[in-house]
Symmetry: C2
Subunit: 346 residues, 2 copies
């Protein structure tokens, strides 16, 4: 199963809304085939592993180790559990059930009904970790939300004035780029778009770049801003009806409502199938998420600098701060000029 | 020399304004005596090591390893270099010269003039580290200043409102107590005294507890505040002449001037022989030190909490923040519910 988990990772950045899955066929204590889910719309792991077996007959009477419950529905490919039965697989070790209601339990039931021996739960924790956003999304019916902050040692994100303040160095920036690639959407406020004019793209061209989501209540974003280019999809949430016309010549998808809340935006993203969101600020947006208590993880890139004075804090708004939110610190490591701190809601 | 360095540490918290020193006598490749500076006003390391040798004659023709240049002046004890000559020591390995102008080079010159073979610089870096505040003080003619901050993950020190906000847990607090013991003075602003009413003492009774220095321009501190008790000396710097009368019944020493600046306070402390100062805030005081560019080290205890909103930042004042101050991060470790980050002026 360890090998299957390792194999699954080969699908990273390619499976999009599908989970990463790895599969290994074993017969007479020998590995006869290894495979992974190749990518969204492509072969599932079981089929890929089958194609890697020298001759198809070998699979007869074999044992399959697979990191996720084999699928039972006709999607972009025929259901794997039928094929496993057809190939004569004798025994299947499954690390975790599929949380997707289209599949969950149905694959296992089908296999059991057709005489396949099922063992569930081997290396479950590692398998859950592998597709944590996918699992969270189907179980909680909402995307997994990570707040990402780059701040000075004293918790500031920019100096006073109009200029963009560069805090993280090249090494830390590359880590941020890699981080973005793991999420299906990147969410920022219009303040950040206007002040920093970020592209919000991932350096290495990804097949499925994260959607750039901009919260622009007042409708201040115009085609001048880089985020409106076609380097990746952009969805703009606004309370200003004029935004639609303003951005008509761009590829930006405008979501208008007279009133948007954090909750409504997240619901909209969930409905669009977005399983994970990286919230990159600015301070007011972060503070709104903090207040709404609507996030799972916080990643802080804390640099070796001090700003002091009246500079802008990472979580800042006009609201009175009356209580502390406690996190569980999961990891602390030095990356470039920053200390990267990862915490989760305690 | 390693043994001498290790031995020197036994004098920690006891040598006060004196340096920690360790000494080892070696003869015929055998260690014949080990000692350290016992404490302020007590035996120096060389003498202590001598007393630990089985019979005094053994020291004749021996080699001495000592972490600091032997003293040459009559202070609270007779000069060590004369005694070394009298004992017939043949060779002396010295890790570092004494930066104290009363001693520096004179001990070495005296020994050389009397035919003792001198080797300087063995394990010098470690020896310098051992007494870094002492070395800094005599070289720079001013105390070594460390800013200490306990803040949330988003760089805040207290929630809005009058209440004191407790951030660090018991384990982190104990580390702070230990830290305080290494400094000769703890400096706070009157805002912190009024808001938090801290005792600013070290838990374990020290022979030389750090002086509690309070910057109280407006003269707001009264005998009600714990810092005015007699658990440790307290020095109050004020621009309000009434403070002297107000605190007349306490042991507080009042330093009045019509105008105090950070620089003047530090000069006054230097003149009083204070070699090291731990600045514990609040935010305005920290920000004043940041602006004055007058500090050497920053220690941040960053807890697993978020505060957000308008809560108080660790370095905060009404001044515009127009540039970043860059540090060199020296260490990052988890202590209790905090990440302890130590940085020095880059």
């Amino acid at each position: 199963m360890r090998l299957a988990l390792h194999e699954a990772l080969k699908g990273r950045y390619l499976t999009y809304t599908n989970p990463m899955v790895g599969a290994v066929f074993v017969k007479n204590n020998k590995i006869i085939g290894v495979g992974h889910h190749l990518g969204f719309g492509y072969e599932h792991a079981e089929v890929n592993a089958f194609h890697n077996v020298q001759s198809p007959e070998e699979v007869n009477n074999s044992t399959l180790y697979v990191t996720l419950e084999p699928c039972s529905h006709f999607g972009k490919t025929p259901p794997c559990c039928r094929q496993l039965v057809a190939w004569g697989v004798k025994r299947v070790y499954i690390a975790q059930k599929d949380p997707n209601p289209l599949v969950g339990d149905k694959g296992i039931s089908y296999l059991r009904e057709h005489g396949v021996e099922i063992h569930l739960g081997l290396e479950q924790a590692a398998a859950e970790q592998l597709n944590q956003f996918y699992n969270f999304f189907y179980r909680q019916q909402r995307p997994f939300i990570t707040l990402k902050v780059a701040q000075t040692l004293d918790g500031r994100v920019s100096l006073d004035g109009e200029q963009r303040t560069y805090l993280t160095d090249e090494v830390a920036n590359q880590d941020v780029q890699k981080l973005r690639g793991d999420y299906q959407a990147i969410l920022v406020g219009s303040g950040t778009v206007l002040a920093d004019d970020p592209k919000l793209t991932v350096r290495h061209q990804l097949k499925y770049p994260p959607v750039r989501v901009v919260l622009d209540r007042r409708g201040r974003v115009t085609p001048v801003q880089q985020v409106t280019d076609d380097a990746a999809p952009t969805w703009l949430f606004t309370e200003n009806q004029k935004s639609t016309a303003k951005l008509a010549d761009t590829a930006v998808k405008v979501f208008y409502r007279p009133k948007w809340t954090i909750k409504l935006v997240i619901q909209e993203l969930a409905q669009a199938g977005i399983q994970s969101v990286l919230v990159e600020g600015g301070p007011q947006l972060h503070d709104a998420f903090l207040l709404a208590n609507n996030w799972q993880r916080l990643i802080v890139y804390q640099t070796n600098q001090l700003a002091g004075g009246t500079s802008l804090a990472a979580f800042q708004s006009r609201r009175q701060s009356t209580e502390l939110t406690t996190l569980e610190i999961r990891s602390v490591k030095k990356i470039g000029n920053a200390i990267k701190i990862t915490g989760e809601m305690a």
